[in-house]
Point group: C2
DNA sequence: GAGTGGTCTAGACCACGCG
DNA sequence: GCGTGGTCTAGACCACTCA
């Protein structure tokens, strides 16, 4: 029975490519099917997915196999297990997950507690994507993108100046008001207002010197060293959905990273 | 039987704290026992540990339980599974794992291929630990440490200037020649020459301006922005064993990070 | 107490590496 | 062909949550 095509709810649909002998474990196939349901929106962020037993029955495999599939999805932060309650679709839109990808922390007392940033939207408009941005987001050059420029201040001090570029089609109608609401939880807003869930991101870091305009916005002398952080965030299936170019002041904070 | 104290080879040794009812899964206890053997050096880096079946017999549990323990240790990069061959103690001392923790990559063509760095040891001496270094490495102020200062050059260009501090007792007798040998594989050298295996690390990143001395060593104008990377590396049991303060040129390379 | 995830077991079979 | 890790199953029991 194992490693044969999987019966779903509708065992009639046997879409098999006969010329692909590639072996793949059953639990990987299950993982793929769950992923499909996730992408298709069968279960929305925050909702519970069916219990392991239900899924096992649906896919006609043992509970242990479903378990292993869910384990991997949980390890990738796509699902969240809660003992006694169920397994839930991960979401940025609840609790205090704020600053999902932000690794800038105060030098003193690693506490990331509270310290709610003030956000100042400088710009939020629809533009034609510059060539490089288009390429990075896998759009055609000249496609519409939403560009946002903002400054985040911590403890009253401007600390981060960043530009965001978002694909125009997925983020049609994004307003400065929306960006300003949802304090701190930008990715939660993307989820709730546009149904776009970011799953992972890649960052490129550099040290750069502040040009006069940047220096003014961050209240530092021109030429000051700043940490440049270029982030590409992806939804399901490694589709890039956000490009961010940030400049961080690192005089009172630092970028913290764990290696293993 | 589960969740009762574990019989080891010598079931006589029942070192139980009766006042600690803390529940911990069997596989976690097994993981702890394997970890102890690892720390004690029962199996050296690169060697195979006993097969799952052997370990199951030794600890009097099922193979599945051992499996889960090993799974976690493999996920933490302490063990490496190789189907058909066995499970091995992870090591820096073999193959081409070079630059274990270095995340600086060329801007063009993400290939990290070859590009062997030239290393230039500027200094390698035994000193009394400065207060801050001592605190970070959990030594007493004034304890001996080995301090190394070096410049790494890629493609002929000086790119990284870094200082290393290593606890004097564990690294007694470290010479500049040893640092210069083992091209690129510093952590491999630590393993082979001193039996110290680094397991994980934490980094703090900042943008700073080059002072005149640093600028000269890195062949950039004074005041140029540099990426400051402070790394604390740990052996087993979260014991800090190396402090590194590096300055990276990021004009042709960048620090690459993955977030999830 | 019913339902959910979490642990543990025992046994079967598969894929891989190597002699 | 043997031994290793890798997958899959089926069933038992435990811990947690909530009505």
């Amino acid at each position: 029975m194992p490693s044969t095509p999987l019966p779903d709810d509708t065992p009639a649909a046997e879409a098999q490519a006969p010329a692909a002998p590639a072996f793949s474990p059953l639990y990987q196939q299950i993982k793929g099917l769950i992923l499909q349901s996730l992408e298709a929106g069968e279960w929305k962020p925050g909702e519970a997915i069916p219990s392991e037993i239900d899924l096992a029955a649906r896919f006609r495999v043992s509970q242990g196999t479903v378990r292993k599939a869910i384990d991997e999805l949980a390890a990738e932060n796509l699902l969240v297990r809660r003992q006694g309650k169920g397994t839930f679709v991960a979401t940025h839109a609840e609790q205090h997950v704020q600053y999902r990808f932000l690794k800038l922390v105060p030098d003193t007392g690693d506490r990331e507690t509270a310290d709610p940033a003030e956000r100042n939207i400088l710009e939020c408009r629809r533009v034609r994507a510059p060539a490089e941005v288009a390429r990075t987001l896998r759009l055609r050059p000249g496609d519409a993108v939403v560009q946002v420029r903002r400054v985040l201040a911590f403890a009253g001090e401007p600390t981060i100046l960043e530009d965001l570029w978002l694909p125009g089609t997925a983020f049609k109608g994004l307003t400065a008001e929306q960006m300003a609401g949802y304090q701190g939880a930008t990715y939660a807003m993307f989820e709730l207002e546009f149904g776009v869930r970011m799953v992972r991101a890649e960052e490129k870091l550099r040290a750069v010197a502040a040009d006069p305009g940047q220096a003014r916005l961050l209240a530092v002398p021109a030429g000051s060293p700043l940490l440049s952080v270029e982030r590409l965030a992806f939804t399901y299936n490694d589709v890039p959905m956000e490009l961010r170019r940030g400049l961080y002041r690192t005089d009172k904070r630092h970028y913290r990273n764990e290696l293993s």
